[in-house]
Structures are given as C-alpha cells and as structure tokens.
C-alpha cells in the first residue's frame, strides 16, 4: 500500500516545493515545525483553554507514544527480574544501559544520596532517547526538535535541582550556600549575581542545546535531499543521497549523545546543588 502511495507522496512534495519556491527554504521550515495533523494526515483535536493553545499536535502524539513505549519496556524489564537476579534476552540489553547510567553517569556526578534521583534521571534518559530516535523513522518527527518540548524537560530539571538543593539546606541556607568561601570580599557581590544568573542559564542551555542539535541535523538532511528538487536535476542525487545517508548515521549518534549529555548535565547540576560544599 505504501509503495502505491509513493507517486502521490512525490507529487505532494513536488507541489509543495513548487509552491514554496519563491520563498526558497519554506518547505524545509514546514517539515521541521509542529503540525496540527498526526503524521501530517489525520486531524487531531484542537483544544483552546484559558487563551492558551493546548491542542493535541503531532509532537504531543509522539510524546504520548514514547511515554507508553518506555513505560511498557521498563515494566517488562522489571517483571523479568522476578525469577532470578540475572536477566536474559532483552532485559539484559536494558540492564547494560541502566547500569551504565547508574555507574558512569549518576554515581560519579551526584555523589552520595544518588538513589533518590536515579528514577528521574533514568526516565529522562530513556524518554529523550526514544523521542530523538522517533525523528529518524519514516513519517516520524522528533518532538525534541521543538523548543517547547525541550523547555518543558529543562523546566523539570530546574525544579528538581532547586527542590533538591532547598530540601537539603532549607530555602535560606541554599542561597547562603551559593556564596563561595575563600575569596576576597570585594568580589562577593559579583560572584553572588553570577551564581544567581547561573541558576537560570544552565537549564536554558540544556533546552537550547537539545533543541538545536536535533533541529540542525534534520535541516541538513532536508537541505541535502532538497538540492535534488531545487536544482531540478536527477544527476545530483547520488551525491545528495550519499551525503544525506552519512548525516543520517551521524544523527543516530547525536540522538544517543544528546540524551546522554542532558542526563549527565542534569545529574551534575543536582549534585552541585545538593553537595554545596564542593
């Protein structure tokens, strides 16, 4: 059925390119942005509440799918530990990743008391990884290529960081602990302002880093394939498809690396907030 739809898809893309050619890269932007229809085809409910647009869009559907997939995979893995401590098969593969996150990412950067934050950080890693990988399958779109989604994840990290720090030392004690010791007193106001700004810039950097990495990769792939349509010639396609394939493989690596970086930086910031005495 999908093979029969190929000419229709090609015609659809060619129409879009013809239509957007005056604007140059308009169709690239159209494919990067969120869409009110699931997979671009099936309409989804639009919900407008309190003056905000809370519609279920394409990216929201992918987030639901990723949440359900991660939940059922982890449920299966947890249940397969019922008979013996040694996992077999698919649970073994998941155990490699989970033990890697626990031993190489969370334990060194968080230090003592890491068990309380381990569920949050593991969920963060697998959720972001699944969302990134969804952007690489046909008809899929990376929900993390949307600044709203990454801002939401970074806000969650921000709340966990501040909550952990304030729970450990109290609200006043947390801010007092941000003042470093052993520096000359005329530098103190500047250091304090820098630390306060750092509270906000660090999660912001997390959000923008994930968003920009995902979007940049997809824009490069679209531009390379779009060269075939813009130059309107068939002979550029070996070069174009070859480069796009290489960037595609790089995108798989970037999907894993960005999930790992988000997790390790969140864990590092939580560790810095909880163990403020350096």
């Amino acid at each position: 059925m999908l093979i029969a739809e190929l000419p229709l898809v090609a015609q659809h893309v060619a129409d879009k390119v013809e239509h957007a050619e005056e604007q140059g890269g308009g169709w690239i932007i159209h494919h990067i942005l969120d869409n009110y229809n699931f997979l671009g085809i099936y309409p989804l409910p639009r919900i407008h509440l309190f003056g905000m647009d809370l519609s279920i869009t394409n990216h929201v559907m992918f987030m639901f799918m990723a949440a359900i997939i991660v939940f059922f995979i982890m449920k299966y893995v947890a249940n397969s530990y019922g008979k013996s401590r040694v996992p077999h098969g698919f649970a073994n593969l998941m155990e490699i990743l989970i033990v890697f996150i626990r031993d190489e990412v969370v334990k060194p950067t968080l230090g003592g008391g890491y068990e309380k934050f381990l569920p949050f950080l593991l969920t963060l890693f697998f959720f972001i990884l699944t969302l990134n990988l969804f952007g690489l399958v046909p008809y899929g779109s990376a929900a993390t290529g949307d600044i709203a989604v990454t801002s939401g994840l970074a806000t969650l990290s921000f709340l966990v960081i501040q909550g952990a720090g304030m729970k450990k030392a109290g609200v006043i004690g947390y801010f007092k602990g941000m003042i470093p010791h052993g520096i000359p007193s005329w530098v103190l106001p500047i250091m304090f302002i820098v630390e306060i700004l750092g509270i906000f810039t660090k999660p912001f950097a997390l959000a923008v880093r994930l968003f920009a990495n995902m979007t940049a990769g997809h824009v490069v792939i679209f531009s390379l394939i779009g060269l075939i349509f813009i130059l309107k010639t068939l002979w550029v396609s070996p070069v174009s498809v070859g480069f796009a394939l290489f960037i595609y493989l790089l995108e798989i690596l970037v999907a894993f690396i960005q999930a790992y970086i988000f997790t390790i930086l969140s864990s590092l910031f939580i560790g810095m907030a909880v163990h403020q005495e350096h």
């Binding site: 932007i29 190489e104 950097a205 923008v208 880093r209 968003f211 920009a212 990495n213 940049a216 824009v219 690396i257 960005q258 970086i261 390790i264």
Partner: protein, 76 residues
C-alpha cells in the same frame, strides 16, 4: 527598499560561517590533545574518549546557540 531583509540574510550567512569556524577550531584542538593524551597513556584511552565526546557535545551546544540566532535572522 528591502534593506532589512537583505541585511538579515547577510548577517545570518556571515554569522553561521563564524560560528562554524569557532566550533571547528575548538573541537579540533580538543581532539588533537585527546590524541596526544591517548598516545602518551594508551590504557587511559577509554576515559579520554568518553571525556572527549562529552566536551565535544558541550562545545557543539555553544556553537548551535549561534546557529539558532542565525536561523532566527534568516527567517525574518
């Protein structure tokens, strides 16, 4: 006169080029020193490789900040 649009495109192009220069220089220097360190002490090459990938991802994050601003300009 479409000066605003033309200058925005020009700024986006030059900005993106500069960002790529900065990112390329930073990550190139990082990779070179990682190679040196691996050569000096081959048994630490696993740790060095992990740290190199983390640092490269962070530097790339910074260069992508600039890229986001260039994209914002080019879309005006």
């Amino acid at each position: 006169m479409e000066w605003a649009s033309a200058l925005a495109y020009l700024g986006a192009g030059i900005g993106a080029g500069l960002v790529v220069i900065g990112g390329g220089l930073g990550i190139g220097k990082l990779a070179g020193q990682a190679m040196d360190a691996s050569g000096r002490q081959p048994e630490a090459s696993g740790d060095i490789r992990t740290s190199m990938i983390i640092a490269a991802a962070l530097i790339e994050g910074i260069s992508l900040f600039g890229l986001v601003i260039a994209i914002l300009l080019a879309l005006k």
